[in-house]
């Protein structure tokens, strides 16, 4: 008995070391850094700067607003798509096609969009075919949302698809047998049962979207400013790591809040 326990402990060592080194230590360092000034003394000054500055608060609002829009767009597209994919015969194959773009480097995909959306790009060439003059597509909120949503969509479809696939088809049949129409079945049976997938998708999209920054520059032309931009600047240009860390801590808090809001409420789900 004791040896089994010891063995279990032994198995936990690599996991624990990993957690300690790559999760807990960086978080503690980040928090510590955010609470110090340039000379290493403890201070709340960085938080005062952050909350006292209209610029940073507006930027935070921007980040949350754009992350919300990206999540909404991906959700609206992904749910019907995941639902349809589940009805198909070769669903694993079609799912693979959806996931395929994630195999390509993020930066390459972004540059591909530059080729599509630029003034002399494919989209404008196509439009000129119908006599529409070249439009300014890049460097706008819309192009930013389009590209960000495109990049995040697989992360929304996958969890929803999986949760839909897990639903027993018999439940659907039973619902029809008991007189529910298609719409009622969807609303009363399918939708509640796929909620965990939707929540997981929201987490997987909303949280990274909060700190997107490469796309804000390449596609948004820095006309869309999020907290990621400020963090990059504080770490690379001004070398004010303390303030950069403070913004990092605030992002982490925002993520924890998202996790809490979208967590599975155990009580409700176990009631059968």
């Amino acid at each position: 008995m004791k040896s089994k326990q010891q063995r279990q402990l032994f198995y936990l060592v690599p996991y624990g070391a990993w957690l300690l080194l790559f999760v807990i230590a960086p978080l503690v360092l980040l928090l510590f850094q955010s609470l110090t000034n340039a000379n290493g003394g403890l201070t709340l000054h960085n938080y005062a700067v952050y909350f006292g500055s209209g610029t940073y608060l507006r930027m935070t609002f921007n980040s949350v607003w754009f992350a919300f829009l990206i999540t909404l767009i991906t959700l609206v597209i992904s749910y019907p798509m995941a639902y349809l994919l589940n009805q198909l015969k070769q669903k694993q194959f079609w799912l693979l096609l959806v996931i395929l773009p994630t195999w390509i480097n993020l930066l390459l995909k972004t540059y591909a969009f530059i080729g599509l959306l630029s003034k002399t790009g494919t989209v404008n060439n196509f439009m000129s075919f119908f006599g529409i003059a070249p439009q300014q597509l890049l460097f706008s909120d819309w192009s930013f949302l389009l590209v960000a949503a495109y990049i995040e969509i697989p992360f929304m479809i996958l969890p929803i698809f999986n949760s839909l696939a897990e639903i027993d088809p018999k439940l659907e049949q039973a619902s029809r047998d008991l007189g529910a129409n298609k719409w009622q079945t969807l609303r009363r049976v399918i939708l509640p049962l796929s909620m965990p997938g939707v929540k997981a998708g929201i987490q997987a999209v909303f949280i990274p979207s909060l700190s997107l920054f490469m796309i804000t520059r390449l596609i948004g032309g820095n006309r869309v400013i999020t907290l990621g931009t400020a963090i990059e600047e504080h770490f690379l240009v001004t070398q004010n790591w303390q303030l950069g860390s403070t913004i990092g801590v605030i992002l982490i808090v925002a993520m924890v809040v998202t996790m809490i809001l979208t967590r599975d409420r155990v009580k409700k789900n176990t009631r059968k």
């Binding site: 930027m59 890049l138 390449l218 032309g221 820095n222 006309r223 400013i225 240009v237 004010n240």
Partner: protein, 359 residues
């Protein structure tokens, strides 16, 4: 369980094979440290003619291990940590000042430098390094305006103030750098690019905000690609970036406003981490030779500070006013000095607020 074990073993085997192959290849190409006949050169990406590195190895027997960085700050951090023994590095002027203050540079022994006399005296003895105690000039350049003659006339964009013209609504691309953008705004107000006055900075930020309706995007290296693709008709960028864009699009031109602009330098320094000083001096002398410097300048397309090398360049390059501006314009150019932590932040905060301005 057995299946898991097999796959773990398989993965470990693949890792072992890849690791040995990587070591083998590294040993074969002679990269990495090790060995005494080596020069560890830390430079910007694609910032030297590779043929010259080969020639250097052939002439002196030193193998060159070429490592690259993409920002002065990244280079500073790495040299400060001292993990790798870089023998030579190529920082920009304000960074040399900062490295000097942080005691990260070795003074150069002028007795061992044979090529210093080849350089134009205008580019020696600069404020960031008096008497070139720590550095030898590598390339210099300017900040200026690049425009496309398909969409506007040359007379429209001779001065910084022209950028504010209502003709250029939503057309101007700016370089994503606080110092450069605030710098040219300060110049339009007759101030220095190194101004340290809260009132002047606030005034510059106020003026900059009125430029926003004309600003199409605030980006970095991508400017050269967008200009070459006709995405915008006018942009503010560095001379080196401009020359690359112009090589891809015949309609592009570059102007250094005569009222003044930034004059930047990339100089070669010997960091504290240097271990192969003999190789380093050999390289400094090699790159100062007019023939080599000329070949390098032709390859990179930046302006060479080497007077004798300039004489060897073809007339079309030598007399190109865009990259070798006349003496009067050069006399109005200003060099950045290190602003220090407090003012670097003030400049960047002002720039961040400008970027947040709604159209």
């Amino acid at each position: 369980m057995k299946k898991l074990l097999t796959s773990v073993v398989a993965i470990l085997a693949v890792v072992a094979v890849l690791f040995t192959a990587q070591r083998y290849l590294a040993a074969k190409t002679g990269s990495g440290e090790g060995g005494s006949k080596v020069l560890n050169l830390y430079n910007w990406g694609d910032y030297i003619d590779p043929a010259l590195l080969k020639k250097f190895t052939k002439e002196t027997g030193y193998k060159v291990s070429y490592e690259t960085f993409d920002s002065n700050e990244a280079m500073f951090t790495k040299v400060k940590q001292g993990g790798t023994s870089y023998d030579l590095a190529v920082p920009s002027e304000y960074m040399i000042e900062k490295m000097k203050a942080a005691n990260l540079l070795l003074p150069l022994d002028h007795q061992k430098l044979t090529g210093l006399k080849n350089y134009d005296s205008r580019f020696l003895n600069q404020s960031f390094d008096r008497h070139n105690k720590y550095s030898v000039p590598y390339f210099w350049g300017t900040l200026g305006i690049i425009y496309n003659d398909k969409y506007l006339k040359a007379s429209d964009v001779q001065h910084w103030d022209d950028l504010w013209s209502s003709k250029f609504k939503n057309q101007v691309m700016l370089i994503d750098s606080a110092r450069d953008v605030l710098g040219f705004t300060l110049i339009t107000q007759g101030k220095s690019v190194n101004d340290k006055s809260t009132a002047d900075l606030a005034a510059a930020q106020g003026k900059l905000t009125t430029l926003m309706p004309n600003v199409k995007a605030i980006i970095a290296d991508e400017i050269k690609m967008y200009m070459a693709q006709d995405e915008a008709s006018i942009a503010v960028t560095y001379s080196g970036e401009a020359s690359e864009a112009m090589a891809n699009n015949k309609h592009l031109h570059y102007v250094v406003p005569s009222e003044g602009s930034n004059l930047w330098f990339d100089n070669i320094v010997m960091p504290k981490t240097a271990k192969h000083t003999a190789a380093a001096y050999a390289f400094l002398n090699f790159i100062s030779e007019p023939k080599n410097a000329a070949q390098n300048a032709e390859y990179i397309g930046y302006a060479t500070p080497n007077k004798k090398a300039l004489a060897l360049l073809p007339k079309s390059i030598r007399e190109d006013k865009q990259f070798y501006p006349d003496a009067k314009t050069v006399s109005h150019l200003q060099v950045y000095s290190d602003l220090g932590q407090k003012w670097t932040e003030k400049y960047n905060d002002a720039f961040l607020e400008f970027k947040m301005t709604q159209r």
